[in-house]
Symmetry: C2
Subunit: 341 residues, 2 copies
């Protein structure tokens, strides 16, 4: 009797937290590889928070899983038959094989693993997508500087644990947030974070303030919700908030943060928005460039401008009040002196 | 009789929109410059939206104006007496002289202007702080690409008018929002924006969608409130939102956007926060760096990690549901095959 391929498929789109009946286990015959294809027998299937979004029938950064379709996701397996010259039986590989015991692949996006270098399971964790998420999110967006404070939630998880430790490598203070004493102890004692708070603590906001006496310079956002609310008031000027996940909000039907803000953060994530405050003086180093380009653009007629001038210093309050209502038309000025230039 | 120096001082901190009685006009004798000082007679006093925040007794990016203090701000004037070797009587200068007819200065932060190059009033507008705000906000944060759509409100104003025109210089489509037909006509016909909408239009959201058929790639935020609400759903993936002002919210006592979101945007501005969504695959170019650094950090014990493994593919839904509740402790994996590596 040939072996069967067990698959976990999506039976129904969850409302709120997924439940058992949203999934269906099916068994089909193990497929055979065609020309250019490989057959992979799975060793590890990854389970990641982002999959919750794929279960919705909503536009996100990846198409949703179809009803009846195999749950997608990264997995590690062994090639057991190959019709593709780039792979041989016995190769360990990582790819988006989904929640099933066997998968056929044409080899695209499949990466060979060397089990002598590291246990192959790490290709789904610290040396895989979660590790890479921590690496680029923290280093390329968070840019922690020595002495700065980095906060990350789900701190014992695949992404959070790497974020805090890379922050330490870069000389920053790492404060984690995790669920329960065991996880917090692990984060502090094993991973070497400077502190770790329990997100179930009713005084999370106050505890976080104590744990971050100099405020927060980088908040690596992977949970959203109540943790974001506690973090937000503590962010320092010029803080960076890479947003890579919002697990606390994925199952929201009744939002825990005000609906509008919550929806805004979801969009920041799925559309990879950058929202950045600035004051012109932050860019003093660009002043010479400005003084090179703008007068030329004005001379060339590429930048036109208009002034809206009221007369006499006495008119300043009125001009200002008008400005706040949009009564001006162009750059609001108050002419004061008798002579002009 | 010696001339007097008229000053506009802050009489009271406004609640909501400022009113006449929040200001007081006073007259004092014109001061005389001491050693190292100059006496400036004002020609133009600038009136800018940011001044509204300085009238509050609240921490922002600059200290508040004191009650009884002269309203601060940029101004252009002529040096009429100098005890400072760097300035001579007759020099045109720009500096933070505030709302008054005469000012004493030690010359710090004071810039000499050449009236032959441009009318001196432009040092407060297109060639001054507002122009520089448009320049750095759009080019350094917004980074408009040819063919992209840039939206800016207060489009006939000092900052907005420069933003849209620089966007055009960079080959982007510029859509303005302004108050009323006259301003919109000017923005379209004189400044060359591709379109301009009236923010008073009750169908602003629908009109904006029509005007931006390919969505919005850069929203230069200088007003907040209802315009931000209309813009937000139209932002494209990877859109950039430089936030340099929120004039629609400066006088909010009852917020027009939900309170939490409004307060969040204020903080994004005053603290110059960067909020940026990302997906790991956006940073594919960094994968080689990751594969260089992370395995080494793991080997050196600088990055520890932990796996949380359940057995058999059947356990995947339960593992996933547990993950969403934080039941896992470390990277969640499902072990599927009989052999491991």
């Amino acid at each position: 009797m040939p072996p069967t391929n067990k698959q976990v498929t999506l039976a129904a789109r969850p409302s709120g937290m997924p439940k058992e009946s949203d999934f269906k286990l099916v068994e089909i015959p193990v497929p055979q590889p065609g020309p250019g294809e490989i057959l992979v027998r799975m060793l590890y299937v990854s389970v990641d928070p982002y999959m919750r979004n794929r279960m919705n029938d909503a536009k996100s950064y990846a198409p949703p899983v179809q009803i009846g379709g195999v749950m997608g996701g990264g997995a590690v397996g062994k090639v057991i038959a190959s019709e593709n010259s780039q792979f041989a039986a016995g190769d360990f590989v990582e790819g988006l094989f989904g929640w099933q015991e066997y998968a056929i692949s044409n080899g695209k996006g499949v990466r060979k693993l060397d089990p002598a270098l590291a246990p192959v399971s790490t290709a789904l964790g610290v040396l895989g997508m979660p590790g890479m998420t921590a690496y680029v999110g923290l280093l390329d967006i968070g840019k922690p500087q020595p002495g700065e404070t980095v906060v990350v939630a789900a701190a014992s998880g695949a992404v959070g644990s790497a974020v805090g430790q890379i922050a330490k490598i870069k000389g920053a203070r790492a404060v984690g947030i995790a669920g329960g004493k065991d996880k917090c102890d692990y984060v502090k004692k094993e991973l070497g974070f400077d502190d770790c708070l329990d997100h179930r603590d009713p005084d999370l906001a106050a505890r976080l303030k104590e744990a971050c006496p100099k405020g927060i310079d980088v908040y690596f956002e992977n949970v959203g919700g109540a943790v974001f609310e506690a973090v937000f008031p503590l962010l320092n000027p010029f803080a960076r908030v890479p947003v890579c996940g919002l697990i606390a909000q994925y199952n929201d039907t009744a939002a825990t943060v005000p609906k509008w803000a919550s929806s805004m953060m979801r969009t920041v994530l799925t559309k990879r928005l950058t929202i950045r405050g600035f004051i012109v003086s932050d860019f003093a180093a660009r002043h010479a460039d400005f003084l090179r380009d703008m007068p030329q653009w004005v001379r060339e007629g590429k930048v036109k401008h208009r002034e809206f001038v009221t007369e006499g210093l006495d008119s300043a309050p009125g001009a200002f009040m008008g400005l706040l209502k949009g009564a001006n038309f162009g750059k609001q000025l108050v002419r004061v002196g008798p002579d002009t230039a």
